[in-house]
């Protein structure tokens, strides 16, 4: 394995940080404490974590409506995220964006996105900027199985390939776009097969195996940094929760969910780490306690922050 122990522990922390954060959001949403839509990433943590593990702060990502995991994996600040989701003026976007629109340009997080398929063209632009300015930076474009059917996504794949841009397209195939199962929305089984149409590498990985995601994306990132162009990595995974909180999930069966819960990426990674002596049981407990304390701080910060003043409404429409 090419990863150091420290790196693996950091990845384990990231996965747990996402899970804890989102489990809390689930609770807050049920209690009516979060306005608007909340799309949870629970069950898919290995994808964002594995994909972002090869990135530096100057690399970029484009995210989706289901973006909390991507943001946390790219180093997003939990306090500012939580405050934004609560609609507070201390949040990442001064309360103007909310769960679906969080960005941190200093960390190369070019924004979560309310438009399915909105991220692909933006990732092409970020890749173009890196090539233009001759940096070695790479952009990871996260997009769902549903988003893979948008023209914007296919156009982005084509142009990134035609111009050999440093973009890694990470497809999160969780089997559904809201109620629509993959088999009803496309004729292919593997979205990665579409890479052939653009003459770029297309790889399928187990999206619940963080190391498999890491290995595949790491290859693609290296290739992109060398100027050899984009890749498409398809991560097969599953969302445990409804499409958004409040979705009754009438379109899928409990057995399917149970099968995927049995493939929970977090205990799978934990077992591997313990088996290989990277972590001990008390180490795991310590990490979880640390993360819980960190989350409590983020919540306290969000709770005590003020709501925006109505006078802020017209700020920031233009630069």
């Amino acid at each position: 394995m090419s990863l150091s122990k420290e790196k693996m522990v950091a990845m384990f922390k990231t996965m747990n940080r996402i899970r804890l954060f989102e489990t809390k959001l689930q609770e807050f949403f049920a209690a009516g404490r979060i306005p608007g839509f909340v799309h949870l990433y629970i069950g898919e943590e290995a994808v964002a974590t594995g994909a972002c593990a090869s990135l530096t702060d100057t690399d970029s990502i484009t995210s989706t409506h289901r973006g909390h995991g991507h943001l946390i994996a790219k180093g997003g600040n939990l306090k500012l995220m939580m405050a934004e989701i609560f609609g507070k003026s201390s949040g990442y976007c001064k309360g103007k964006g909310g769960s679906m629109h969080i960005a941190d340009f200093d960390l190369g997080i070019l924004g979560a996105n309310g438009i399915v398929g909105g991220g692909g063209p933006l990732a092409v632009g970020a890749g173009l900027a890196a090539k233009y300015r001759k940096t070695k930076d790479v952009t990871v474009c996260f997009f769902g199985d549903g988003a893979s059917n948008q023209g914007t996504t296919q156009e982005a794949l084509n142009l990134a390939s035609a111009w050999k841009l440093p973009v890694v397209f990470v497809n999160e195939n969780n089997g559904y776009g809201i109620s629509c199962p993959q088999c009803k929305s496309m004729a292919v089984t593997d979205i990665a097969d579409r890479a052939a149409a653009y003459d770029m590498p297309g790889v399928v990985v187990d999206g619940n195996d963080v190391l498999a995601v890491y290995e595949a994306v790491n290859e693609a990132v290296k290739r992109a940094r060398k100027g050899e162009g984009p890749s498409l990595i398809e991560c097969k995974t599953y969302r445990w929760r409804g499409h958004f909180e409040g979705d009754a999930c009438t379109y899928r069966c409990d057995e399917e969910l149970k099968e995927w819960i049995a493939k929970d990426p977090i205990p799978r990674f934990e077992e591997k780490l313990v088996e290989n002596g990277v972590l001990k049981a008390d180490g795991v407990a310590r990490i979880k306690a640390e993360l819980a304390a960190e989350l409590d701080e983020a919540i306290a910060f969000a709770e005590k922050s003020p709501l925006p003043e109505p006078s802020a409404l017209l700020d920031d429409v233009y630069a």
């Binding site: 909310g98 679906m100 629109h101 438009i115 059917n149 776009g177 496309m186 009438t250 003043e309």
Partner: protein
């Protein structure tokens, strides 16, 4: 008449038109067994099957374009976009294809399609899921624009839209879906281009669309207590626009306030104001006032969102500034 919600009225219109005309079908995302993101197509999949209630991939461009192509080929599609905001993805198919086919092809084509889209703010859905975009569609010759405010109009206008031989943009307000009202049973249509005088009055004309109609009616109630009698008019369709009813009202009241949730700048009220200024300038004893959203995207945080949406107080303030 029976009491029904706006959503039930829409559902009834879809169901009855599908019974009546087998060329009518539904196409959109999650409109099948799921019943649509807001539930408007609920039950129709079970009634008519997947050949007539079609779930598409996430592909707005093709939803709109396929509706136009199928309409030009003899069918009568009713397409749904989950939120009006997503029309951005499909604009070419709407503006350059569907809207222009008849004219460009010298009157040979007919594009009898309906594009249903919920719009409006108020549920914390933020900048990309809350807009009111009627002015965009009004600006494109070839499109008709219906914007029902009540359950009865929801039914009557949707039936008319489906029977119309042109592309019709049908704008629903997501906060009206649960609104109850009397809805005529059986065959019921509301003709396009016929405004609804929702309340009669002699002192000021308030023209309001969609959810703002209800806000305007509340404002009129309050104004009455202060001795100001407001006439409240809902155009119901913005294209065609029943300017005559509005002008006649202004000739009686001599004052005009326009209320809508869309952004004020170059918004739907600007067109109505301009036409009234052209046709009834001499009858006005005060400037025309617009009550509309400010010139910014829809914010997420509830206090900001509430400050964004025009309310009863803004309408009352506008009326009192001229009356």
């Amino acid at each position: 008449m029976a009491k029904k919600t706006y959503l039930q009225a829409l559902n009834e219109a879809l169901g009855s038109e599908m019974e009546r005309d087998e060329r009518v079908f539904i196409i959109g995302e999650d409109v099948g067994r799921f019943g649509g993101c807001f539930g408007v197509t609920q039950g129709l999949f079970d009634r008519f099957g997947e050949a007539r209630v079609m779930d598409t991939p996430i592909t707005e461009s093709v939803i709109v374009g396929a509706a136009a192509g199928a309409a030009a080929s003899g069918l009568r599609p009713v397409a749904e976009l989950m939120f009006v905001d997503f029309i951005g993805v499909a604009l070419d198919q709407l503006f350059n294809q569907a809207a222009k086919m008849r004219f460009m092809f010298g009157g040979k084509a007919k594009v009898p399609m309906v594009l249903r889209m919920p719009q409006g703010a108020g549920i914390g859905a933020a900048a990309q899921h809350s807009q009111s975009l009627e002015a965009w569609f009004m600006h494109i010759p070839g499109l008709k624009v219906a914007i029902p405010a009540t359950p009865a109009d929801a039914k009557g206008l949707l039936v008319s839209a489906i029977r119309d031989d042109n592309p019709v943009i049908f704008l629903e307000h997501k906060l009206l879906y649960g609104l109850e009202g009397e809805v005529p049973e059986g065959e019921y249509t509301v003709p396009f281009g016929q405004a609804n005088v929702a309340r009669e009055g002699s002192d000021v004309t308030i023209v309001a669309t969609s959810k703002m109609l209800h806000t305007a009616l509340c404002a009129a109630e309050t104004l009455e207590k202060d001795g100001i009698k407001a006439e409240v008019i809902d155009p119901r369709t913005l294209v065609p626009l029943d300017i005559e009813t509005i002008v006649n009202s202004v000739k009686k009241t001599h004052a005009l306030v326009l209320a809508h949730e869309a952004v004020g700048f170059a918004g739907p009220g600007a067109e109505i104001a301009a036409q009234v200024a052209e046709k009834a300038f001499d009858y006005l004893d005060a400037p025309i006032i617009r009550v509309a959203a400010p010139f910014c995207p829809v914010p997420f945080s509830p206090p900001l969102e509430q400050a964004y949406i025009p309310n009863e107080a803004s309408i009352i303030g506008a009326v009192k500034s001229i009356r």
